[in-house]
C-alpha cells in the first residue's frame, strides 16, 4: 500500500495561490526528490505536509496510510510518523536539546501506546543516534539550536529524525547553507536511516545533495505543479540545463 498519496493539492499563503494541483505518490522505502526554481512551491509543500497553520489548503487531499493527513494537528502528524526537517530550525533558549528530545520521544511513544523511556533508556538511545550525525554530548546539553552554526542546526534536525524514527521524512532544503563537509555528514546520517519502510521527500534547489542522497525518483516542481518526473538522471539534466527549459513544459507559463 502506498504511504502517501497527494491528489490535486492546492494551497495558498497570505492570499496567494502557491500550489495549484500537485499530485504525488510515495511508497514505503522510496526516496523522492523534489526540485524546482525559487518560488515554485517546494517549501509550501513541506509546510502543508507538516501542518503549518498559515498555509491554507484550498483543494485536493493528502492521504497518509489511508487517512486524511490534513485533518490532523501538527503533533498528531508527528506521532503518526511524519517528520519535517526544517529549512530554518528555530532556536529555543532555555530548553536543552536532551530535555526537548526526551519530551518529544515520550509523547510520540505515549500516542502509540508504548511505555515512556526512563532516563537511562533514553540516554542509551540518544548515545546510539548521536553517532549518526556526529553530535557530541555537549550539544545535547545546549539549548535547542541556540547559537548553533548552520551545519550544527541541520545535523540537529537529522539527529531529531533519528530519535523519532519517522515513516515519512520531509527534508526541506536541508542542504542550504552547508559546506561540503557538513553536507556529507548530514547525507550520511540520512542514508543510515534509509530502509524498506521509511520514505523520504527530499526538497532541494540543487542537484549536489542528490550526489549523496541518491533518490529513486526526481520530480520537478514549477508554478505549483509537478511538471516532470523521472529518475535520478533528471537531476543531472536539470544541473546541466538549468530550470529555464522546464518553463516550456508548464502550460500556464507558455501563455505568458
Amino acid at each position: 500500500m502506498e504511504l502517501l498519496n497527494i491528489k490535486n493539492l492546492q494551497a495558498k499563503v497570505e492570499g496567494k495561490d502557491i500550489l495549484k494541483g500537485l499530485n504525488l505518490t510515495v511508497n514505503p522505502g522510496e526516496v523522492h526528490a523534489i526540485m524546482g526554481p525559487n518560488g515554485s512551491g517546494k517549501s509550501t509543500l513541506a509546510s502543508v505536509l507538516a501542518g503549518r497553520e498559515e498555509y491554507e489548503v484550498t483543494g485536493g487531499e493528502v492521504l497518509y496510510k489511508g487517512i486524511d493527513l490534513l485533518d490532523l494537528s501538527p503533533e498528531d502528524r508527528a506521532r503518526k510518523g511524519v517528520f519535517l526537517a526544517f529549512q530554518y530550525p528555530v532556536e529555543i533558549p532555555g530548553v536543552t536539546n536532551a530535555n526537548f528530545l526526551k519530551t518529544a520521544v515520550n509523547e510520540v511513544r505515549k500516542a502509540n501506546n508504548l511505555a515512556p523511556l526512563d532516563s537511562k533508556e533514553f540516554l542509551i538511545l540518544m548515545k546510539d543516534k548521536m553517532k549518526l550525525v556526529e553530535i557530541d554530548k555537549a550539544m545535547t546539553q545546549r539549548s535547542v539550536n541556540e547559537g548553533f552554526s548552520g551545519g550544527e542546526k541541520k545535523r540537529n534536525e537529522i539527529f531529531q529524525m533519528a530519535m523519532l524514527e519517522p515513516e515519512l521524512a520531509v527534508l526541506d532544503e536541508t542542504d542550504s547553507g552547508l559546506d561540503i563537509d557538513a553536507l556529507r555528514v548530514v547525507a550520511n546520517g540520512v542514508n543510515a536511516l534509509r530502509n524498506k519502510q521509511r520514505s523520504f521527500i527530499v526538497i532541494t534547489h540543487y542537484q549536489r545533495l542528490l550526489d549523496y542522497i541518491v533518490p529513486d525518483f526526481v520530480h520537478v516542481l514549477y508554478n505549483g505543479r509537478i511538471v516532470k518526473s523521472g529518475t535520478k538522471e533528471l537531476a543531472f539534466e536539470l544541473e546541466e540545463k538549468g530550470y529555464d527549459w522546464i518553463k516550456e513544459l508548464s502550460p500556464e507559463t507558455a501563455k505568458i
Binding site: P74, A78, V90
Partner: protein
C-alpha cells in the same frame, strides 16, 4: 487629611490600642509616631502615582483577627513547605508569631543569630538598624507595620562568618478559623566579610478566609559581605500581600535578591535598594506566574549613591486569565555616583487576551559617566517555536509549558538556594501545565 481616612482603617488603630502594652518599651515612641503617621496617610488611593494601578481597598473589605495566643499549626501541616530543608535552619512564623516548636536551629556557626526579633530587642544591631532602613514617613503600609509589629525574623551574621547552610523563614497564614492579619518585621544584618543565604517563604493553609500579610524587611550588608535573599510568595488566591524591603549596601557588598510570586489576590512588592558604598553590586530578579484574578505589582527603586557600583535588574512575568501585572522600576543615579553600571529589563508574556500588564521603567541620571540601560517588552509566545515543538509530536499544552518554563528558568536560574530553587521550579512547572489546560 483625617477626614479622608476610610473608616475601616480605624480597626487597625484599635488593634494598636489593644496591643500597645505588649510592645517593647524602647520601641514605643517610634510605634506611637508610626500609628499617628498611618492615621494621617490612610491607605493609598489610585490617585497616588505610586499606587496608580494597584487598588488596595479590597484589603479593607474584611475584618481581620490578630493571632491568638496559642498555636494551631501542627508539624504535619508544614511538611510540604519545609521538605528539602532538612539540613538547614528553619524559622517558622504562624500568623506572624514565632513558633519555636516548629522551628529548627542547626548548622549555624557560633555567633550567628537566627530567631524572633522580639527575643533580641536589646541586641546592638537591632538598636542600630531597626526602623532606620525602612522609612515610614511616606509609606502607609510601612507605618502600619512599624506601629503594629511585634515579631519577625532577626538574622545576624558576625564579621567574616560565612554560613554554608541556608536559613529559611516560613511565614504561614492560618486563616482557617478567621481572616487573619500579620505584620512581620524582619531585620538581617551581614557584618563585614560575612556571607549568608536566606529564603522567605509565604504560604497559607487551605482556607476561603483571606489573610493579609504586611511584612517589612530591613537589611544592611556591610563591607565585603554578601547576602542572597529569595522571596517565595505562594499564598492563596484570596490573600493580600504588601511587602516592603529596604536594603543598604556598603563598600564592596554584594546582594542577590529574587522575588518569585505564584499566588495571592493582590501582591505588592516594594523593593528599595541603596548602594551606599563604593563598588557595591546588586542583582534584583523577579518572576511572577499568575492567573485567575491575581494582581501583582513590583515596584523597585535602586539608588546609586556611590561611585563604581553595579546593579542589574531582570523581572519577568507570565500572566494568564484575568490577571494583572504592574512593573515600576526606577533607577536613580546620584551626581557623585560616577562609573555607575545600571541595567534593568522587564519582559512579559500574556497567555490570555484578558491579562493585562503595565510596565514603567524609569531612569534618572545625574552623573555624567555612567552606563545604564532599561527596557520593557510584553508579548505572546513565539508561534514559530510553538510549531517547531508541535512538529516533533509535543502537544500544544506541553509545548506551551516547555516554552514558558524555559522563559521562567532565566530568572529561577539566578537562585542559588537549591532547595528553594527546586521547589519553585516544581511549583512554576505545575502551574504552567495547569494554565495550559
Amino acid at each position: 487629611m483625617k477626614n479622608n481616612t476610610p473608616l475601616p482603617v480605624a480597626s487597625f488603630l484599635n488593634q494598636f490600642n489593644d496591643a500597645e502594652k505588649s510592645f517593647t518599651t524602647s520601641l514605643l515612641p517610634m510605634k506611637k509616631d508610626a500609628i499617628a503617621r498611618f492615621e494621617e496617610l490612610g491607605f493609598p488611593t489610585t490617585k497616588n502615582e505610586d499606587w496608580k494601578y494597584t487598588n488596595v481597598f479590597p484589603i479593607l473589605n474584611n475584618t481581620y483577627h490578630t493571632a491568638a495566643n496559642e498555636f494551631n499549626v501542627k508539624s504535619t501541616d508544614i511538611l510540604k513547605f519545609i521538605s528539602g530543608w532538612e539540613n538547614d535552619t528553619v524559622l517558622v512564623f504562624e500568623n506572624g508569631k514565632y513558633n519555636a516548636a516548629l522551628s529548627k536551629l542547626q548548622n549555624l556557626p557560633s555567633g550567628v543569630i537566627a530567631g524572633d526579633i522580639k527575643d533580641f530587642s536589646d541586641h546592638p544591631s537591632v538598636n542600630l538598624y531597626l526602623g532606620k532602613i525602612a522609612s515610614y514617613t511616606n509609606e502607609s503600609f510601612v507605618a502600619l507595620n512599624t506601629a503594629l509589629f511585634n515579631r519577625g525574623a532577626f538574622i545576624y551574621v558576625p564579621k567574616n562568618v560565612q554560613i554554608n547552610c541556608n536559613i529559611h523563614v516560613l511565614f504561614l497564614n492560618d486563616s482557617r478559623a478567621n481572616s487573619t492579619v500579620c505584620h512581620p518585621r524582619n531585620l538581617y544584618v551581614a557584618e563585614k566579610g560575612s556571607k549568608v543565604k536566606i529564603s522567605e517563604n509565604y504560604y497559607s493553609l487551605d482556607s476561603v478566609n483571606p489573610a493579609f500579610c504586611n511584612p517589612v524587611t530591613e537589611i544592611n550588608i556591610e563591607e565585603n559581605a554578601s547576602l542572597e535573599l529569595c522571596k517565595n510568595q505562594s499564598e492563596n488566591e484570596n490573600d493580600f500581600h504588601i511587602d516592603y524591603t529596604a536594603i543598604h549596601l556598603q563598600k564592596n557588598a554584594n546582594l542577590n535578591i529574587n522575588t518569585i510570586t505564584t499566588g495571592g489576590k493582590i501582591v505588592r512588592n516594594n523593593l528599595r535598594i541603596v548602594l551606599q558604598g563604593r563598588n557595591a553590586s546588586a542583582y534584583l530578579n523577579g518572576l511572577y506566574v499568575v492567573s485567575g484574578e491575581c494582581h501583582v505589582d513590583n515596584h523597585s527603586f535602586v539608588d546609586h549613591s556611590s561611585p563604581d557600583c553595579y546593579s542589574n535588574e531582570l523581572y519577568k512575568g507570565i500572566l494568564d486569565d484575568h490577571s494583572h501585572g504592574v512593573f515600576n522600576g526606577r533607577i536613580y543615579v546620584r551626581k557623585d555616583a560616577q562609573k555607575t553600571n545600571a541595567y534593568q529589563s522587564n519582559k512579559n508574556i500574556l497567555l490570555s487576551d484578558d491579562a493585562t500588564m503595565y510596565a514603567k521603567p524609569q531612569l534618572e541620571i545625574y552623573a555624567d559617566d555612567v552606563k545604564c540601560s532599561h527596557g520593557a517588552t510584553t508579548g505572546q509566545l513565539d508561534p514559530e517555536s510553538m510549531f517547531y515543538l508541535r512538529s516533533r509530536g509535543i502537544g500544544e499544552r506541553e509545548s506551551r509549558a516547555l516554552l514558558t518554563m524555559a522563559y521562567a528558568e532565566e530568572v529561577l536560574d539566578k537562585i542559588t538556594i537549591l532547595p528553594v530553587k527546586e521547589k519553585l521550579q516544581e511549583v512554576v512547572h505545575s502551574r504552567l501545565m495547569k494554565e495550559s489546560n
